[in-house]
């Protein structure tokens, strides 16, 4: 266990684990370290530590800002990012930010060999995998936004990132879907710099169309969620237009 929040909830529901390994004592557990063109975030790093980190504020200010308000103050201070990811709960928040930023999870497999998987492929984690780090690219995004104000109807993170010579828009949707939903759209070079109204709508349509359909449940219908997602994604892109990308393309 790390922050232990999900473990205790499970135990109160009747789970009786025979052994609990308290991971806090491990070295390299906490700490955010820059390494080459990546930022390595230890699996024990809390939400608050992410938000307060100088390295994160420099590279991903939108993430640091959004993460100062995530969940509630108790979870921010105690819950770990890895714990948040490994709960595989679409209502939890970190996976959408991580996917939008092109993050990976570094883990030890059953043979204790270190491997990496993109966060959007977390469903493919082998049994017995132990997450040790979250790997964020050090390169800042051209734009990044997290929308958590509409939970539990929907949540998402949106980024525009330079990948090689192209600009890629990434949309990761959270609680409107039963499991991580992710889409990306590659934009031609220079496209982003000339982001007009028509292109904003076009990007919105393409990003949303590439997602699987949202679910209908007691919180909202699939139809409403689809509509709302488009409206909110479009508004974020409009905001990016208005404020300009972080670095000229």
């Amino acid at each position: 266990m790390a922050g232990g929040i999900d473990l205790i909830a499970a135990m109160k529901a009747g789970d009786t684990p025979d052994d609990v390994i308290y991971l806090r004592a491990l070295p390299d557990w906490t700490g955010i370290v820059e390494s080459g063109d990546s930022i390595l975030i230890g699996a024990g790093v809390t939400h608050q530590e992410l938000s307060d980190s100088a390295a994160i504020r420099a590279a991903h200010p939108g993430l640091a800002e959004a993460w100062s308000q995530v969940a509630n103050n108790r979870i921010r201070l105690k819950g770990t990012l890895a714990g948040n990811l490994m709960a595989h709960n679409p209502a939890y928040d970190f996976h959408i930010a991580a996917i939008a930023l092109g993050a990976e999870v570094q883990f030890l497999d059953a043979h204790l060999a270190p491997r990496r998987l993109p966060v959007e492929a977390l469903g493919e984690l082998p049994d017995g995998a132990l997450a040790t780090h979250i790997v964020l690219p050090k390169q800042p995004s051209l734009a990044f936004a997290v929308q958590l104000q509409w939970k539990p109807i929907l949540s998402f993170a949106l980024s525009f990132r330079r990948e090689q010579e192209q600009v890629v828009a990434r949309l990761a949707a959270g609680c409107a879907h039963a499991s991580s939903a992710f889409s990306s759209v590659t934009l031609e070079h220079g496209y982003f710099a000339s982001l007009g109204d028509a292109t904003a709508r076009d990007i919105t349509e393409r990003l949303c169309a590439a997602l699987p359909p949202p679910r209908s449940d007691w919180r909202a219908s699939a139809g409403y969620r689809s509509h709302l997602l488009k409206v909110l994604v479009h508004r974020e892109i409009e905001r990016v237009r208005a404020t300009g990308p972080r670095h000229e393309g």
Partner: protein, 167 residues
């Protein structure tokens, strides 16, 4: 906790609670709330939702607010725990935060009050001059079903001002 504790292994837990060093043998699956309430008779820590949502059971662990209902007692090993009982020496010697809550009527049934006061203490330690937005966002972590929150916001502002004066 709904896991048999009489059969669980016991371990010595050493921590400082409200300024006093304690060492108690507790089952390893005990929650911090159970430790405080049942082992130390500190009943100011109220268990309401028992699911880390409402904040009624908030205590400070090394200055950080934690949901004691969803924290293992062993996580307090070597740590400093502060509960509501640490804030006042008696009914007439209230901590400025408690005094502010009293004066602004920032309570009704009182069940959430202890957890809220501790949460406010942590807020004001980190942000001695919080603006309304910061206070509101911080208080979002605690549920109060009685007051409608306005008086709690006022109490927090008042306490912040008083603590700044005496600092």
């Amino acid at each position: 906790m709904f896991v048999q504790q009489d059969r669980a292994m016991k371990d010595d837990l050493s921590c400082v609670v409200n300024g006093r060093a304690r060492s108690v043998a507790v089952p390893i699956n005990r929650t911090l709330a159970e430790f405080l309430r049942d082992d130390l008779n500190l009943n100011g820590c109220r268990v309401a939702c028992d699911g880390a949502v409402c904040g009624s059971c908030t205590v400070l662990l090394d200055g950080k607010p934690v949901a004691s209902c969803s924290t293992f007692a062993f996580e307090a090993e070597g740590a400093k725990i502060e509960t509501i009982e640490s804030l006042s020496e008696g009914p007439t010697k209230l901590h400025p935060i408690q005094q502010a809550f009293l004066e602004t009527n920032a309570f009704q049934c009182g069940f959430c009050t202890a957890g809220l006061v501790m949460s406010v203490k942590a807020l004001l330690a980190a942000h001695p001059s919080p603006d309304d937005k910061t206070i509101s966002e911080w208080l979002r972590s605690s549920v109060c079903r009685c007051t409608g929150y306005k008086t709690i916001l006022e109490a927090t502002r008042l306490a912040a001002a008083r603590l700044r004066e005496t600092a």
